[in-house]
């Protein structure tokens, strides 16, 4: 019968930095831990003695750790031990030597069943393709927006370059922050992943905004003003959740909850503030229309007679607004007109 153990040196985030396998044909296998090159597991830790501890495993997988008269001793199950009796490691097999954390795995360890690999669908190749698509769509939509708003041809190239550079700078900064968070959490930056998230989210929000405006103008829908910020909020929530999953050790469901909650709270606060001001202002005229080229107008308007019949309900609605402000805002400041 063979006694086998694997000693893993862990990082602060429980990632394995080094792994050593020990096997003995007899009943017992053992190894020493310390700073000395004579040890089986060598640690670069100034709080560890030259020969600090011995780890022993028997053929049945029982593990014990013994302090070899070091100054700092060993820490097993939250208790610090100095010399004397060997300490038995419990299920997790983790103990501390100096400021280093070690884990001992044995043949007794239950091995989780093999996990089905679904990563092929989200391979790095696909991720690169998604990034490329997001970047192309983002640049195309931004260029179209700049072209639409710049009516002087001589100003187009300057406006285009300035806008794209500004976007690139902002996106780069955003990606760098998330990459830094990933580096801290997992020891890898995941640049590609965060860049893909940003590119897809920006592309989705701009395409959606433009699409809504065109549909609104083409069909004369006059959608409620909340539709666009809500859809934008959903896009941000998805992107933020994806960033959090890839930049923090939290579980996916918590990341999703946080990713939804943050934009929802911010957008709701902004919309509430805006609506509050609009519901009290006598100068605000809602405009839910968007002018599109006549060729895109798909729907005829109503007749003037029908429209003038429909507006007869304005009086009770205006009275209701008057009652509302009299109740909610009985003595507003009489501000001067501002230009």
């Amino acid at each position: 019968m063979e006694a086998v153990m694997v000693v893993e040196v862990l990082s602060g985030h429980h990632r394995v930095r080094a792994r050593h396998r020990f096997a003995a044909a007899g009943e017992v296998a053992c190894c020493t831990v310390g700073r000395s090159v004579a040890c089986d597991v060598v640690l670069d830790d100034p709080y560890v003695a030259a020969v600090h501890a011995r780890i022993t495993v028997d053929a049945e997988g029982h593990v014990t750790v013994t302090d070899l008269e070091s100054v700092n001793g060993i820490e097993v199950g939250g208790l610090r031990r100095h010399g004397g009796e060997p300490a038995e490691l419990d299920g997790g097999g983790v103990f501390r030597v100096g400021r280093s954390r070690l884990r001992v795995r044995t043949a007794r360890e239950a091995v989780a069943p093999e996990r089905a690999d679904r990563s092929e669908r989200w391979s790095r190749g696909a991720e690169r393709n998604a990034l490329a698509a997001g970047v192309v769509v983002s640049i195309a939509v931004t260029a179209f927006q700049v072209w639409t708003t710049t009516t002087q041809p001589r100003e187009l190239s300057t406006a285009l370059v300035t806008t794209l550079l500004a976007l690139l700078g902002l996106a780069g900064l955003w990606i760098a922050l998330w990459a830094l968070a990933s580096r801290v959490a997992f020891g890898e930056s995941r640049w590609l992943r965060h860049a893909t998230i940003v590119a897809l989210a920006y592309a989705a929000s701009t395409v959606m905004g433009g699409f809504l405006s065109v549909v609104n103008g083409s069909l004369g829908l006059h959608l409620p003003s909340a539709v666009e910020p809500v859809l934008f909020g959903i896009t941000v929530a998805v992107a933020l959740s994806a960033h959090l999953v890839n930049a923090s050790p939290m579980r996916a469901r918590f990341a999703l909850a946080l990713g939804v909650t943050i934009p929802a709270v911010i957008i709701a606060a902004v919309m509430w503030t805006q609506a509050r001001g609009q519901n009290r202002s006598p100068s605000y005229v809602a405009d839910r229309d968007h002018v599109v080229p006549p060729a895109l107008v798909m729907r005829r308007g109503v007749s003037l007679e029908r429209f003038t019949t429909e507006v007869t309900d304005l009086r009770p609605r205006a009275d209701a607004k008057r009652a509302f402000v009299e109740r909610e805002d009985p003595s507003p400041d009489d501000e001067d007109e501002t230009d």
Partner: protein
């Protein structure tokens, strides 16, 4: 209006400046210089004119009072104007805008009079005529001989005089020329080419015989010696209707609202059932509907603008003063015509969208409630337009509303227009009917 502090833009648009209040400084109504005196050379004899002025001033002095307004228990005045006796029972006439604060906020303001001789006492409001900016007041314990009113007698070219208490410097007479009735004005006015300064509101405008031809009311802020009097016949009518128009202080706001409604009804009736139009880039749009409506057109002459813009703005100059930031009874509309030779339909549509943000429908939240609006694409005369109609209620005046209409054409790929109309202090029924008249006039006739 130059009552207190800088006026709002909408008020400046009204041009005429009421003359109440010490805050209307000399800088706003500059006195004539030596050079401008030289312009008034047609007066036959300066010496004889001065004697006439002296005689008139001596005659009217006992009958003219200064009316002062006080806020709360303050002894320092909040505003002041003038008034003159029209009966021998202590009834005086003045301007509505001199007493409006007391009528609208009786719990906050009070009125007192002061004669040229220094006698003082309380003043109460007996009747008001908001449309013509007149009010009848009772001066407690003071009943001087009345001035004689001379209705329908303002003759162009006649020597005229104005008396009042300008800038709180004591009883003053100014000398000028009556230019008769103002032709293009919704409200009847006598054009007086003489100085009227803040504080002279409500004082008498007189002919060479000392008879009242009008009541001092307003002057142009940016012009020299362009002033206005309310014709004397309206003072006569108010005096005759004083019982009918007697003011119940507890229902003063109802009476104010009623008179504003009557004013707006008269204004819309004067515009007729159909509006005249003018063709702009193929669009027939409402144009100057009556002589008293002032229309101005402007545009950017720069030749290389991708989108050419022309603006036509019309104003009936009919708003009546109720208080600071509260001038109902007005009507104005404007068209903004956009066209391009170089832009494609997509970018031109974007230019139209951007131009929509420039509407000015400012109102004080103290006086007006928010708009209730309806917006739809509507088939007008041969073209589709995105149309918005809104109403907002006056918070303290029952039954009157502001109407706002916005129209954005949707048929032109390289030309289009944005049009807006605002009618203030109108009943919903009359306002919405006028909105239909306004929209009905629009047609596509390339």
């Amino acid at each position: 209006m130059s009552r207190a502090g800088p006026p709002g833009r909408a008020v400046v648009r009204g041009i005429a400046v009421l003359l109440l209040g010490v805050t209307c400084s000399a800088a706003q109504t500059r006195l004539p210089t030596d050079e401008t005196d030289a312009v008034s050379q047609p007066v036959p004899s300066a010496a004889s004119a001065s004697i006439t002025a002296r005689l008139i001033l001596d005659r009217v002095r006992p009958s003219v009072i200064q009316i002062k307004g006080f806020f709360g228990t303050n002894t320092a005045e909040a505003f002041h104007g003038s008034g003159f006796a029209v009966t021998d029972r202590g009834v005086f006439i003045t301007n509505w805008h001199v007493v409006s604060d007391v009528v609208l906020y009786p719990e906050k303001y009070r009125l007192e009079y002061r004669t040229a001789a220094g006698k003082t006492g309380r003043v109460s409001v007996r009747a008001i005529d908001i449309r013509h900016d007149l009010a009848l007041v009772d001066a407690e314990g003071f009943a001087p001989p009345p001035l004689r009113l001379r209705p329908n007698a303002a003759i162009g070219g006649e020597r005229a005089y104005s008396v009042g208490f300008p800038l709180d410097v004591g009883l003053t007479i100014t000398e000028g020329i009556s230019n008769g009735r103002v032709e293009d004005s919704f409200e009847p006015r006598v054009h007086y080419s003489g100085a009227l300064n803040a504080g002279m509101s409500g004082g008498p405008g007189l002919d060479g015989a000392g008879h009242v031809i009008g009541v001092n009311v307003a002057g142009y802020r940016a012009s020299q010696l362009v002033s206005f009097l309310v014709p004397a016949e309206h003072a006569v009518r108010l005096l005759a209707d004083a019982k009918k128009l007697a003011l119940d202080v507890k229902k003063a706001r109802d009476e104010v609202a009623r008179q504003v409604r009557a004013h707006s009804d008269a204004l819309l009736a004067a515009l007729g059932p159909k509006l005249p139009t003018q063709n702009h880039h193929g669009y027939e749009l409402p144009s100057k509907p009556a002589a008293f409506v002032e229309c101005r057109a402007a545009g950017d002459p720069a030749p290389d603008k991708p989108i050419s813009v022309e603006r036509v703005a019309c104003d009936a100059k009919s708003a009546i003063y109720l208080g600071r930031n509260l001038q109902p009874g007005g009507l104005s509309f404007q068209h903004e015509l956009l066209s391009t030779r170089t832009l494609d339909p997509w970018r031109f549509a974007h230019g139209m969208q951007a131009a929509k943000g420039s509407d000015d429908v400012f109102a004080s939240p103290r006086h007006l409630a928010p708009f209730a609006c309806k917006q739809k694409n509507v088939e007008l005369g041969g073209f589709t337009a995105n149309t918005t109609i809104c109403l907002r209620a006056y918070r303290k005046l029952d039954g009157i509303y502001d109407l706002y209409v916005r129209v954005v054409s949707r048929n032109g790929s390289r030309q289009g227009f944005l049009s807006s109309l605002i009618v203030t202090g109108v009943t919903p029924e009359r306002g919405l009917a006028f909105a239909q008249t306004y929209l009905d006039a629009m047609q596509w006739k390339p």
